[in-house]
Symmetry: C2
DNA sequence: CACAGTCCTGGCACTCAGTGACACCAGAAG
DNA sequence: CTTCTGGTGTCACTGAGTGCCAGGACTGTG
């Protein structure tokens, strides 16, 4: 280990952060090289052989670390997926399952933001190369599958069959929106704040389903009305009268 | 045209319905053959060459109709995507954009259900072959991309940045749930009714954002409270007083 | 009838992704 | 020194996907 080959890389420890990449330096080194070549020469014009030799490994080794050429820009996904799983597994028993998924999604976004150069650089690539965009979609779907499964297992029994799907997609929408805006802005927005704003919006909906007792369907009302002082006052009095939460 | 080659197929017009396949018989014939071989021998054990010769076309022709081996079971997606687009384009000008997407999604589901054998047979395959499941995810994402773009363009200007994403994902969740339950049940459930039930649930949320005037953010209140006769009465009077829609 | 144009097809030939099998070499442990 | 183990390189092979060209069917035009 500790290759003396500083050549193509700025240093022997790459450019990207520390947390995940410490686990497997070689994998990230290959990914970094691949993304550089893809950006310089175009995805289709770069063979795996080229990536391998530029990374100073054999072609076979590239395929030992990555399932395919299109996975080269995503060395962090497997780790983050594991992070998401453990965040859900580690949720306190009594926790509202939707809140558990929200917390896990927050963890996932934080992990994204801890590799800003990787994520922003990759965006340049996925925007340009349809095949990589496709791969990104597939990788992303894995997260949603995990949250869907968690919600299906933990939502109260009387829930309608679309509910786990709805919350999973809704929470994912906030994740997508916050991360997407951040990435499109080149890292300028406050993604965590945006995510929390989305969660706040979600929470105003989730109380409907989560509050009531299980059997017989939701015992809540969801009301939408034009804003006005009268409406606010009426709602406030109703809320205070019956539900002093 | 009108090939006299009845050989491997039960008839010269395949097995599946009429609407889309009339457009290109050959494409559906190849798809049918491919799915049969995939189910009989396993996806990885069937080469494109085998599909081609069993379909009585050349290997080259298979790739003229399909972008790749993994697209063989999805001959209907391009047509349905076009259907979705035209449904959105054809929406009446004043229509609530969320309602427009709901209507388009209804059309999409109907189109799915018009090919029951194809869809149910394909489910056996996608459940079994990860690569095909992946392709299904990607194809599905295309629909959501279209609806997202439509909502982003047509939602009122003051809407928060996550809103188009949220509604798109939410409506898609209903589509996924209804179609998924139908497919998993082997075609036994009433998918259209399930979809409408989901839409009804969505409508209780959507009124919030769609009603208000544009500038300065949503001019609506969203309230969630415990159900009670008093609450219902109070809300009814508020609604009648200010918003006689 | 002759001829040009178009569309769909088959037939190569080629690149390259991905995989299996085996050999090699480091270091750790006995 | 021997043995085991984990990471690596080398080689050979299958098969997906593409570019190019040629041929046949059909159409319209002179």
């Amino acid at each position: 280990m500790t290759p003396r080959t500083v050549g193509l890389l700025g240093s022997d420890r790459g450019t990207w952060g520390t947390p995940v990449m410490a686990a497997d330096r070689t994998k990230y080194r290959i990914a970094e090289t691949a993304m550089r070549l893809f950006l310089e020469q175009g995805y289709e014009n770069v063979t795996v052989e080229a990536v391998a030799s530029a990374s100073e490994v054999s072609r076979r080794t590239v395929f030992r670390y990555f399932g395919g050429k299109d996975e080269l820009p995503f060395p962090d996904h497997s780790g983050r997926l594991e992070l998401l799983r453990s965040a859900l597994d580690g949720a306190a028993p009594g926790t509202d399952p939707v809140e558990a998924v929200i917390a896990a999604t927050r963890v996932s976004l934080r992990d994204f933001l801890s590799h800003p150069e990787l994520v922003l650089r990759r965006y340049q690539l996925t925007r340009l190369v349809p095949e990589l965009r496709t791969r990104e979609v597939v990788e992303h779907e894995r997260y949603v599958v995990v949250t869907r499964a968690y919600l299906r297992a933990n939502l109260p029994d009387g829930s309608p069959p679309y509910l786990h799907m709805a919350w999973a997609q809704l929470i994912d929408a906030m994740h997508r929106a916050a991360l997407g805006d951040w990435v499109r802005s080149g890292g300028a927005t406050d993604a965590e704040a945006d995510l929390e704003a989305g969660f706040a919006w979600i929470r105003r909906l989730v109380r409907t389903e989560a509050g009531g007792a299980g059997a017989g369907g939701p015992a809540s009302l969801l009301a939408v009305l034009p804003d006005s002082p009268e409406a606010r006052a009426a709602l406030a009095s109703l809320r205070d009268a019956s539900h002093p939460l």
